[in-house]
């Protein structure tokens, strides 16, 4: 195409700004744009002409964690999200705490301390994370049946979750993406699933929009986590 033809430049710029230039034509236009000042000028003029049309579009507040996601993508910080499960090493310190937690819990419940004899149920204490503590103080105890087929999650205290948010439980493998085990309703959850412990390195609870993570991976901050 001859982009030096003024009428063509006008038409393509107008349709690009309007949004009807699609497919290969749209991509070609974008490729040519940086090198063609005439295209840039025409496009800017069209964007400015059509801009008033956007004024009456009702604003919609994006979810609060979106800003955090933007920052993480750009600056790799405060980072509970993109690769938190990759940083499991940092959590190893929790293991000691978890053991203490098991003892404390056993005492609390007046039950004998589980002895690693036959196949005791696993009890994992999930501590409130540093990032999570500012949002919701959420400690949990997860007990997994010896055969790894059932998990019961209970919150360690009062749990107040902000309106429109829910907590979601995840199984975090040593390698790969976490798998959702469902939502934590009223501070507890019960999960029945075969082989809950196979390949699982930790459990974690994240804060998600109502209905749970829309992506199938944790999108909100991790508020609580515990390694196995």
């Amino acid at each position: 195409m001859d982009y030096s033809r003024p009428d063509l430049v006008e038409r393509l710029s107008a349709e690009y700004a309007l949004g009807t230039l699609r497919g290969g034509a749209r991509r070609r236009f974008e490729r040519l744009l940086p090198a063609h000042p005439a295209l840039q000028d025409a496009l800017q003029a069209w964007q400015q002409r059509l801009q008033p049309l956007s004024a009456p579009v009702a604003p919609v507040a994006p979810p609060p964690q979106l800003w955090e996601s933007v920052q993480r993508r750009l600056f790799g910080e405060p980072a509970p999200q993109p690769s938190w499960w990759a940083r499991l090493g940092l959590w190893q310190g929790f293991a000691g705490v978890a053991t203490a937690g098991v003892l404390a819990l056993a005492v609390l419940l007046g039950q004998p301390v589980p002895v690693p004899a036959a196949q005791p149920p696993f009890v994992i204490v999930m501590n409130s994370t540093e990032a999570g503590a500012t949002i919701v103080k959420a400690g949990f105890v997860a007990s997994v049946s010896a055969d790894g087929g059932a998990l019961t999650l209970k919150s360690l205290g009062e749990l107040t979750v902000e309106q429109g948010r829910v907590l979601e439980l995840w199984a975090v493998p040593g390698k790969g993406a976490p798998q959702s085990l469902g939502l934590v309703a009223g501070g507890q959850a019960t999960v029945l699933r075969a082989q809950l412990l196979t390949g699982t390195a930790a459990f974690a609870v994240s804060m998600e929009p109502a209905g749970g993570s829309p992506t199938g991976a944790p999108t909100g901050p991790i508020v609580s986590a515990g390694t196995i």
Partner: protein
């Protein structure tokens, strides 16, 4: 030409422009201020075009990642900051429709039409329900702006097809489907509508401010 010089901008435009120039220098606080003051508006624009909430959130993230990286390319002498930001948002939103069209699970109801209008998405996915319709928005836009007179010079079909394309991110083929009209007819409505709009707006801009220009 409708670009106004920075001296005529509103206070908000000047503030945004100042912030963007600081973003270009790597100022994260300025970046956050831009986000706080524009994200809801841009999210609204993105959601009109791509009504899939999760995808729209993804698009908005990309928009601001792009703003951070490309703020140096914003030239206050060439465009207003909100126009620049809106254009980034609209382009990303339209690109996200293309991505969706490329997903095998989506059954396209349209063949690629003549020239380059490639795969289109399923129109049924795209229609937001409760929000104001495109024509209603167009009316409101016209009410708040001198654009009104120019919109009135267009035929009803031209207005409708421009509104569907702009607000809903519909392609020619989708507008044609929506209006139950042949593709060629819709293309010509869009093309003529844009041409009339331009000549009317440029004429109005040439007449400085006042001048109740009819051109009807």
């Amino acid at each position: 030409m409708s670009t106004t010089s920075p001296a005529e901008w509103t206070e908000r435009s000047r503030e945004l422009s100042r912030l963007l120039s600081r973003v270009a220098l790597g100022d994260r606080q300025a970046f956050e201020a831009v986000y706080r003051s524009t994200s809801a508006q841009l999210f609204g624009v993105v959601l009109r075009i791509n009504s899939d909430r999760a995808q729209a959130e993804e698009v908005l993230q990309e928009v601001f990642v792009n703003v951070w990286r490309a703020a140096g390319g914003f030239d206050a002498n060439l465009s207003q900051p909100l126009t620049w930001l809106t254009s980034v948002a609209r382009n990303r939103a339209i690109d996200s429709l293309r991505r969706r069209a490329a997903e095998p699970a989506t059954i396209s109801r349209f063949q690629g039409s003549e020239d380059d209008e490639g795969g289109e998405r399923d129109l049924l996915d795209a229609m937001p329900s409760a929000a104001a319709g495109p024509l209603e928005l167009l009316t409101r836009a016209s009410e708040t702006h001198a654009l009104e007179e120019c919109m009135e010079t267009l035929s009803g079909e031209q207005r409708s097809s421009l509104a569907l394309a702009y607000y809903q991110g519909l392609s020619h083929a989708e507008v044609a489907e929506q209006m139950s009209q042949p593709l060629g007819t819709v293309k010509s409505w869009v093309r003529r509508g844009l041409l009339s709009l331009r000549s009317c707006l440029d004429r109005a801009a040439g007449l400085v401010s006042g001048a109740a220009k009819g051109a009807a």
